[in-house]
Structure formats: C-alpha cells, structure tokens
Amino acid sequence: MALRITIDIFSGRPNPVLILEGPEENEALDRLRPESELRGRNLRPLPSSTLGYRGLIVEQSGRATRGLPKEFRVANGDVVAEDFAARPADPAFEEFVCGSTGPIRRIRREPDLSEFILKEIKRLDDLRDWWKPKRPDWPRRERCRCAPLYEPDWWNVQPILGSNNCYNYGCDYRTDTFAQPGLAAGAMYTALTCASVRPAAVADDLISSPNANNRCPREGHLAALVIAPGWDFHWFRKGRNGYWSHKPGSTPVTNLDNSGVTIPDPRTADRGPYTQFCTFMVVMHGHIKIE
C-alpha cells in the first residue's frame, strides 16, 4: 500500500511525485477523509487545462479506503473525481504536502520549490473564483445539422479507401467504383473543366448552388467542386461542425488542406494544383445517384 501524489504544475518538465507509505500515508488519508459533499454553488469549477498549478493527483496503490476514490484530484481543499466531490477533513491538505515542513521537503529540486507551489495554489484559488467552463467552438458545436459527421475511420479502411474517391466522399455515398460525375446518368463529363464537370454532377441530381457562399443548406449538405484545369476534379464536403473535409483520390480522408490547416472555407484553402474553385453544390441525401 502506498499513496502516490503528483504535484500537477509543470508543462514541459515532469511533475514532482511523492510516494507516501506507512504512518505518513495513514496521516494523509486521514486528512483527506471526506467530511462533506460538495455540490451546487459550493463546487467551484476546476479548469481542466491551465498553465501552472492544477492540483494534486492522488492515487491509492491498493484498495480505495476512507470513502475516497482510488484516484482523485485535490485542488484548493476540494477532493474531486468523476462523479465525486467532497470537502476533506483537512482542507489545507495541499499546504500540508507542499509546505516547507511537509513531504515535499524530500524532493531535492529548486530550494524555493515549496514557496513557488504555495503561491501557485493561491493563484489557482483566485482563478477558480471567476473561471467558467466554456464549451469549445469546435468540433462540438453543430453548425450544419443535416451535414455528415467527420468520421474518417469509416472511409480509411480497405476496401473502402482504395475504391472510393473525392466524389464518393463529397456526396457521402459509397459505391466502391471510384465514382465519376455524370456516369450514373449517362452524362459523364467530357473535359476536366468546371463547365463540363458541373453539369455532369447536376445530371447525378446534385444541386448547383453558386450563391451558397459557404452557408449550410436547410436540407442535405454542401459540397464544393474544384478543378485542376485539364487534369482532374476534386470535391470537398462541409461537415456538421461547419468545417470542410475531403478524400484525395484513393488516399485517406482528411480535414486539412495542403498547408496542413483545417478548412473553414474551400475557396480560401490551400488546394495545391486544384486552382480553380468551380461552385458550391447541395447534396440531398437519398436523392442522388452516382456510380
């Protein structure tokens, strides 16, 4: 049995770790014993990712004891874990560990490490007074409710990977035939130009939407046709999160452009040799036929 305490404070360097055993472990566990449940306004949010001190990560090596989870975090006197939040018997547990006479004295690093950490504990305490959890804008927010999810793993396996191209992916329609615009309708493109590929896609019942201006349609999803003049065509599709992704030929689906950045608008993305932006088109699910 031992108690492993990681002082979660650094970013580049490894965090200091303390192992408490025997009487020291028992004393620590007694201090951490939950006294009252934290809920509602008493439970201040704890930033999951901030620079500087983020709490003590406590892990019990044997069975969980004293009514504590096997692993938990202590931050500003709060003991928190998934579905668990309590005030311990000693709300100053962190000062006990990190104070100049506490177990931290065994760590032979900077002489003022204890002082630094105590200041950081206070900084985190102040931060938690005003910090509010904020949902990230991306990828969770659904900007295009009818658009397909970005699920590259579904496409990036054989035989799907090698036998479906940008048109399949852009239409969210697996055919395993390396689909060609217009082929299903007997009206395949005759030249690798916007003027030839666009009507071929319309023949497949995609809806030309040159004025879509990167806005999601009410139904279906938005696709974009670009051309490498004389050589090839390429399709992007707008996903549910509002960002675009694509499948370059027989290679894996990606949400990055040629510069390695995400794609908020295919008109401004780094498209390599596909220099001509042709048009936006709407794909109505169940209403198109490609092959």
């Binding site: 191209n165 940008c166 048109y167 390396f178 060609q180 615009p181 690798l192 590929v197 490498a228 004389g230 050589w231 090839d232 065509f233 390429h234 399709w235 694509h246 499948k247 370059p248 030929g249 027989s250 290679t251 990606t254 990055l256 452009d257 040629n258 390695g260 498209r271 390599g272 040799p273 596909y274």
Partner: protein, 116 residues
C-alpha cells in the same frame, strides 16, 4: 527481403498517386526499367523512418507492382516493399527509385503542375 527476380516473368506495372477524382494513372514498365528498380532496391539500406508527410492534394507518391504482386511504394526518401507476409522500408536519400519510376511514365501521363 532482397530480391533478384527477373522482370521477364511477366508485366510490371507502375503508377502514381496524383489525382483525386480521376483514377490514378498506371503504366507498364519495361524489363530494363524493372531490372534497374530491383538493382536500386537491392542497393538501399533498411530504414525505420516513417513516410514523409504527403500533401493532401497533388503528387503523393508512386508505386510499382511486379508479376508476383509484390508492391513497392516510394515517396521522397523512403521506399517500402509490401508482400503478403509484411513490409520492409529502405532509405533512398537520392530518391533514385522514385525518380526512375516517374521517369518511366509515358509522356503526358503525369501533370507537371502536380509536382510543384
């Protein structure tokens, strides 16, 4: 995984990962080029490197398949031989394997603008 197989056993096919909408171009390679590629492969040293990151669009590497379905893929300084039982990577600092494959493409097959 050294190989000394003669190219006279059947057709060797080469191709390039270059297009997105159209099927990628493939072409047959001559026995002389096949023998040259085998010689290059046999001269390369093993590598643990992973393939250099390829651009999303444009040229993304080339490949060769021999009559026994052994498949070499090359992109920049790395050549990988894949067979049923596994794969082996070798370093090609001068990109001789890749250049030889691409040089064997019939005129007009590969768009120069895709290699920028």
């Amino acid at each position: 995984m050294a190989t000394s197989r003669s190219s006279s056993d059947g057709d060797w096919t080469a191709g390039a990962f270059v297009f997105s909408g159209r099927p990628d171009p493939t072409w047959r390679i001559s026995s002389d080029v096949a023998a040259e590629l085998v010689a290059i492969w046999n001269s390369l040293v093993p590598s643990d490197n992973t393939i250099a990151s390829t651009p999303a669009l444009g040229y993304r590497g080339c490949f060769v398949v021999d009559p026994a379905e052994r498949r070499w893929t090359a992109f920049h300084e790395l050549v990988t031989l894949s067979i049923d039982s596994g794969s082996e990577k070798r370093r090609d600092d001068e990109r001789r394997f890749e250049r030889t494959v691409l040089a064997s493409a019939p005129v007009g097959t590969l768009p120069a603008s895709f290699f920028a």
